[in-house]
Symmetry: D2
Subunit: 154 residues, 4 copies
């Protein structure tokens, strides 16, 4: 899983700091407990926002596949770029889009926003696992993911 990481390669020409590339959106409120001693929202909270974006993506797009199918997917790589400080109180929106569709894995690109301001972006690789080994993405999954690619993608 090392051959392709890095913003440029996996997200290709997709600019994850721009709201209009995303296929699905979630929303979350900032909590006082998210603040660190610098009075900034801790990166750990931003990581949770990205997680909520992914769960919302799965619920909205992949729920029809059923638990049995979904259980075979494992998040193996998470990469976040923190771009601006975030403050309490407030709320954020999280955009999610498919940025790569491989044989046995796929990548999601994500952005956390306050209005048009991009707070952080993330790229996440999920692998299809069967009997402890990576396995080809089922066609049903592939079709759903294909439909969640960015409009701007070739």
């Amino acid at each position: 899983m090392n051959e392709r990481v890095g913003d440029a390669e996996s997200a290709g020409t997709i600019d994850l700091t721009a709201r209009d590339v995303f296929a699905e959106w979630a929303r979350a409120t900032i909590r006082y407990a998210d603040l660190d001693p610098n009075n900034h929202v801790n990166n750990g909270a931003i990581n949770q926002f990205f997680e909520d974006g992914r769960v919302q993506f799965r619920t909205a797009r992949m729920a029809p596949l059923g638990e049995a199918t979904l259980a075979g997917f494992a998040l193996v790589r998470y990469s976040a770029t923190y771009r601006a400080a975030l403050h309490y109180p407030g709320e954020v929106e999280i955009g999610t889009v498919v940025t790569r569709l491989g044989g046995s894995s796929y990548d999601l690109g994500q952005g956390v926003f306050q209005g048009d301001k991009c707070i952080a972006t993330a790229e996440v690789t999920t692998v299809h696992i069967v009997d402890g080994r990576s396995a080809r993405l089922p066609d049903t999954v592939r079709a759903i993911l294909e439909a969640a690619r960015s409009a701007g993608q070739g």
Copy 2:
């Protein structure tokens, strides 16, 4: 389960499971990370919702007092009653009201709700501390807290 833990005693005649007793409201979204192995929202998240309700109460009502005044208050006791399971995804509303105004301390009563359903209630005692000892509530604070008592209170 009521014989000895009763809200009734400490909050007097105020029923914290009823939405209409509260003076101030906050709102929060549930996160996937809040879920425990039983697929319920963990009590720790509910405790964070109550905290957000108190911070929002302080911001809305007490901010004019300034940081110097507010620094002298310490939360010393927190008591929560968990009344219903909470599920993801979703959001909650948190109501907060002054339930007791003492010489050097005061109590807040709180409720976490989904719609009209009360998920949990809490009572919280805050003490005014000066030079490490409890001290009489300043009149400015007292006036603000008096205005945040429940409409139903004598």
Copy 3:
């Protein structure tokens, strides 16, 4: 700050700020993410320490009962008194003891300590629920809880 919140009442004559009253101990490390804007460990983290103490208590004492029996218990009331500020880094020990054994419910008393310094104490009421209603504690549970009462208790 003691006139109305007194531990004394609910825990009877047991002083939860003294290490020697506890029947079971757990240990936890403080995390940077636990810090709030005042550079103190947030009360939410202290609430998690108490939770870990209870899970450890259940694992050590009640695991032989099996999941089917344990599923019928619900924590309904949690009350914490915060007694001293806690700083990062460091670790804490959490003591847990049975303080009350009722017909269909029981209370645990807990303390979070750094060395001999008591950071916070808590009291927690758990109810036995069958078919959605409180039900008499099974004799097996009662015997285990009886054995976990404080040595100092009559």
Copy 4:
């Protein structure tokens, strides 16, 4: 900050799944609240373990620089690879090492371990910021970071 990310490039020949490459170690306990609905430790907790490793690294190695110097550093990129499921209860050790030393930024490599088992690895890029722009690493910082490179590095 895009020119160089990806395991291969920044960590070079360093294998972050091997305990012996690390320069500094921290330790953390798993909490019940870390568990997700699959009864696994949530990735968010693993992210917190890595954070604790970095804070411990900074405390152990960079504290002499003083707060004024340290305030000028911002974590801009965090990349984690999750390699094995983690269970409760238990504790983990977190290793941290400098994997790249650039003009105005540096990378840390990290690993979370249970015994010899590697649970996750991470790479983190920190940039020196002065007046809102990246600036050359001070020589004092550079010397400290140089001393925290892996023994195996050229």
